[in-house]
């Protein structure tokens, strides 16, 4: 950190935006490289857009190397955060609300605060997609949920459904069988895109039923969810499907709204990177799910966080600040 041209204003070497596996790994690496990173970790929320990211809403993580017995998602993130703090990361519990990457130093605004930095690592991740139905906001928390681990408990002995066909949908469905008497998985196609191991577990579980080739087109219930209207994607026929709870796990969208017009994004909104983790703005690097719609794993996010920290460190050295 040195004084900028404006007196009293410090310019950091690295500011990291986002605190999932990518951001926290970037923090560990850049802190160990004596870059004294500032980490804007986000704010509490019941969505995946919260400190720690998507793993905060999961239960058992079985595929993170080094944990042969598995580890709980929130515990894994708590440990990564401790490791980042141990080497001198400064953590601020706030969201970045806007950025100005049009000149150097780079500017990151968080509410009333502005941070100046030579390099920025973007690791804002992705958030769950909602169905986009008008009834959604009225019924969220009243039978409609995006967090099985938070709300599953309230559906003991009830009949519920999960919408989606990927790993997170199956993980939610399997978790919810601990409480619900029946879990119907509603999927728009006739096969799952989830991993083989998750598919086998779900297909083997006799509390899980599958409603193939159907989408949810409306929700019934004024103060509490009573039914979903489902549509057969082949015949187009619609029917009312009574249920007490509906959990949505239909995919993700990247958290890149604040970078619009400044960082290059692809058609789906993901940040475009390369070579390595570089974005189109010199000094701005991106890692984790915000730039990856292919792998989307904790370990690949962590790996790319490491890459971003090394890329940022080399960039600072090359520009005479290392």
């Amino acid at each position: 950190m040195v004084e900028a041209d404006e007196p009293g204003v410090t310019v950091r070497d690295v500011v990291i935006i986002g605190s999932g596996p990518a951001g926290l790994t970037a923090a560990v690496y850049s802190a160990r490289a004596n870059l004294a990173p500032l980490l804007l970790e986000g704010e509490p929320s019941s969505t995946s857009d919260q400190p720690g990211g998507q793993l905060m809403l999961t239960t058992e993580v079985e595929n993170f190397p080094g944990f042969p017995e598995g580890v709980m998602g929130p515990e894994l993130m708590g440990r990564m955060r401790e490791q980042a703090l141990r080497f001198g990361t400064e953590v601020v519990t706030a969201k970045a609300t806007s950025v100005d990457f049009s000149s150097h130093p780079l500017r990151i605004r968080s509410g009333d605060e502005e941070h100046l930095s030579r390099a920025v690592i973007v690791s804002t991740g992705a958030r769950s997609l909602m169905l986009g139905l008008p009834a959604e906001s009225r019924l969220l928390g009243h039978g409609l949920s995006t967090c099985a681990t938070c709300d599953g408990f309230f559906f003991r002995g009830r009949e519920i459904a999960v919408v989606g066909g990927g790993d997170s949908a199956l993980e939610e469905a399997l978790f919810l069988t601990k409480f619900a008497s029946k879990v119907t998985l509603i999927h728009r196609r006739d096969q799952l895109r989830a991993s083989k191991i998750m598919q086998e577990r779900a297909l083997r579980n006799d509390r899980i039923e599958f409603l193939w080739n159907h989408t949810v087109v409306d929700l019934h219930g004024e103060t509490r969810l009573e039914a979903a209207v489902v549509r057969d994607t082949i015949s187009g026929a619609q029917r009312v499907f009574p249920l007490d709870g509906l959990f949505v796990a239909i995919g993700h969208q990247p958290n890149t709204d604040i970078f619009a017009g400044q960082l290059d994004r692809d058609a789906a909104g993901y940040l475009v990177t390369g070579p390595g983790t570089a974005t189109n703005v010199p000094g701005v690097f991106a890692c984790g799910d915000v730039q990856d719609h292919t792998y989307r794993q904790a370990i690949t996010a962590a790996g790319s966080g490491c890459m971003a920290a090394i890329d940022a460190e080399r960039w600072l050295e090359a520009t005479g600040h290392g």
Binding site: E43, P44, S45, M56, P74, S145, C150, R224
Partner: protein
């Protein structure tokens, strides 16, 4: 800090709410709920900073599912503000301190 938040149970719930002269924010939570853990320290801060204006209490829904059912809690964290013993406002889901203060503004 532990004493600033009253722990409610089925036995004490109605009495605590009826006897309070200030509005009471009741935090419906559970040990296994990550977002609940994130807002717990924020609620402690609010309890300290707004002492005398508002009370903060918590209810473990695992231990007292009867009360969760009675107030139709189907998602946690849920915060219900009771004024004169009756529910006056309900907030669902974890939020940052700024947003919580804003949404609870009328009681603070």
């Amino acid at each position: 800090m532990a004493d600033v938040i009253t722990t409610l149970s089925s036995d004490t719930f109605d009495e605590v709410l009826a006897s309070s002269t200030e509005p009471v924010i009741v935090d419906f939570w559970a040990e296994w709920c990550g977002p609940c853990k994130m807002i717990a320290p924020i609620l402690e801060e609010i309890a300290v900073e707004r002492k005398g204006t508002v009370k903060v209490a918590k209810l473990n829904v695992d231990d007292h599912p009867d009360l969760a059912r009675r107030f139709d809690v189907m998602s946690i964290p849920t915060l219900i503000v009771f004024r004169d013993g009756a529910p006056a406002k309900r907030l669902i889901g974890a939020k940052g301190k700024g947003q919580l203060l804003q949404e609870l503004g009328e009681f603070l």
